[in-house]
């Protein structure tokens, strides 16, 4: 199998032979598992269940995949919606779970700020960052996660969250402001 085969090509092939779907699963499993963890699905078994349901749903709805948007956005959307259903069934939405690598988040966020002169050198522990995230609204956490941890563009975020691009921009702006307010004073962005 050529390594450069596009997602869209694999989708076409999967419609002819279901075994091809394994390629897509293997391509996205780790990314989506990480994304689910960042959304707050902390237990590995739960993540696997959600992923399994998400892939099954993707397979069943493969004919509804719109090639005008990226397959990754479509797959993230399904995983996102599955995670939201999971949280609803649990009637709880845990806070974000970060690892040390995620501390680069602020470097990413800093790049988006127009006035970099006011940005302090950030040395936050993972716990401090998680604490700040726990103080902001879930939807704001979601947009920050997609933008800065998952490196999604505004258009991709629009497709994943199923909201207009303008709304993504507004949500992101508000999320950054909320996070800024939630950070300890010396670390204000």
């Amino acid at each position: 199998m050529p390594p450069e085969m596009s997602d869209e090509e694999i989708v076409r092939r999967t419609l002819l032979n279901k075994d091809e779907f394994a390629l897509l699963i293997e391509r996205y499993e780790a990314k989506l598992s990480r994304y689910l963890e960042r959304l707050g699905v902390g237990i590995r078994e739960d993540r696997e269940d959600i992923l399994q349901n998400a892939f099954i749903k993707a397979y069943k709805n493969l004919n509804s995949f719109d090639p005008t948007l990226a397959f990754s956005s479509w797959m993230y959307r399904i995983a996102h919606n599955e995670a939201m259903s999971f949280f609803r069934s649990k009637r709880a939405r845990p806070s974000i779970v970060l690892d040390d690598e995620d501390r680069d988040f602020f470097a990413e966020m800093r790049d988006e700020n127009s006035d970099t002169s006011e940005i302090a050198e950030l040395r936050l522990s993972r716990e401090e960052l998680e604490k700040a995230f726990s103080k902001i609204a879930p939807l704001q956490r979601d947009v920050l996660t997609l933008r800065f941890f998952e490196d999604r563009s505004y258009a991709e975020m629009s497709d994943i969250l199923e909201v207009p691009i303008g709304t993504v921009s507004t949500l992101l702006h508000r999320a950054k402001r909320a996070l800024r307010a939630a950070l300890p004073k010396p670390f204000e962005l």
């Binding site: 779907f21 394994a22 499993e29 397979y59 069943k60 004919n63 909201v163």
Partner: protein, 293 residues
């Protein structure tokens, strides 16, 4: 052994489930139809909103707000009575339904709320204007407006405002009027016959009365048992005939001529008096009367 390991992965479990549960991708036509379905529902909702808007335009055009000084104590109370609330509600509801359905289409989420809502409103208004111009407004008001138990078409409501002789308001068909006299006979919208004293009427009012047809008469308040009504102003009522034919109106012009020619028992001229000056919106009504409706 390799198979066992494969089953342990998410991919293995997903493929096993697909095989065991005989899962297959849903056919493409289902999604295409679903998309068309929501677009159709959205378009239908906007079209219903447009029909509501045409009915609203019909009401606004036909209700005579200028005479609200006679029928209501304030413009606000007139607005509360005359606002086409049913149609405004239907329009708002179906614009919302239209928005909800368009939002469910394949790319519906990409359009901002304001764009979809404004598009739905503008489409409803444009289409509604066209329906109204084509004459659907009155048809809808007549066909639908009379059915909900909680709603009475505004034009029927307006009729009731003009069946209040105790408030000095009367509307009906002129049955007889002989030039040179001041009184005429009128059958009100409930079918009751009134002798209308017109000695205080200006020549313009008399000219309107002389034309016959359905008129509105503002006069001095009288008791319900009295059959004589002292008129101060006469205004023509050019309204949608269907609302009158619903209740047996109007009387045809040939009937008018017949009754006119046999009106020898009509009241004679009454001494001119100034009782009209006492009615409350006299000056405003005089201004309307002089400007002509």
């Amino acid at each position: 052994m390799i198979m066992e390991q494969k089953k342990e992965t998410v991919a293995g479990r997903v493929l096993a489930r697909i095989t065991n549960e005989h899962l297959v991708p849903r056919p493409r036509w289902e999604f295409i139809w679903k998309n068309y379905f929501f677009w159709t529902l959205g378009a239908l909702a906007v079209a219903i909103g447009a029909l509501a808007f045409s009915a609203m335009l019909f009401e606004i055009e036909n209700i005579d707000w200028r005479l609200s000084v006679a029928t209501h104590t304030s413009l606000w109370s007139f607005f509360l009575d005359a606002a086409p609330i049913l149609w405004v509600s239907v329009l708002a509801l179906f614009i919302l339904v239209g928005y909800g359905n368009i939002r469910r289409t394949k790319h519906g989420y990409r359009y901002p709320l304001a764009v979809i809502a404004l598009g739905a409103v503008l489409t409803s208004f444009t289409l509604g204007g066209a329906f109204y111009a084509a004459g659907f407004g009155g048809e809808i008001e007549e066909a639908i407006g009379d059915h909900p138990p909680f709603y009475r078409p505004i034009l029927l409501e307006e009729r009731s405002w003009w069946l209040a002789p105790q408030k000095g308001l009367l509307a009906g068909q002129i049955l007889s009027f002989v030039p040179g006299t001041t009184s005429f006979v009128l059958r009100d919208l409930n079918g009751r016959i009134w002798n209308i004293e017109g000695d205080e009427l200006h020549s313009a009012d008399r000219a309107i009365a002389a034309q016959g047809g359905i008129v509105r008469v503002v006069g001095t308040p009288t008791t319900a048992t009295n059959s004589v009504f002292h008129a101060c102003f006469v205004f023509p009522w050019r309204t949608y005939n269907a609302f009158f034919s619903l209740e047996g109106f109007p009387v045809s012009s040939s009937t008018f001529m017949l009754v006119s020619s046999s009106s020898s028992e009509r009241n004679g001229a009454v001494a001119r008096n100034d009782s009209c000056k006492g009615i409350r919106p006299y000056e405003k009504l005089r201004a309307i009367d002089e400007a002509g409706l």
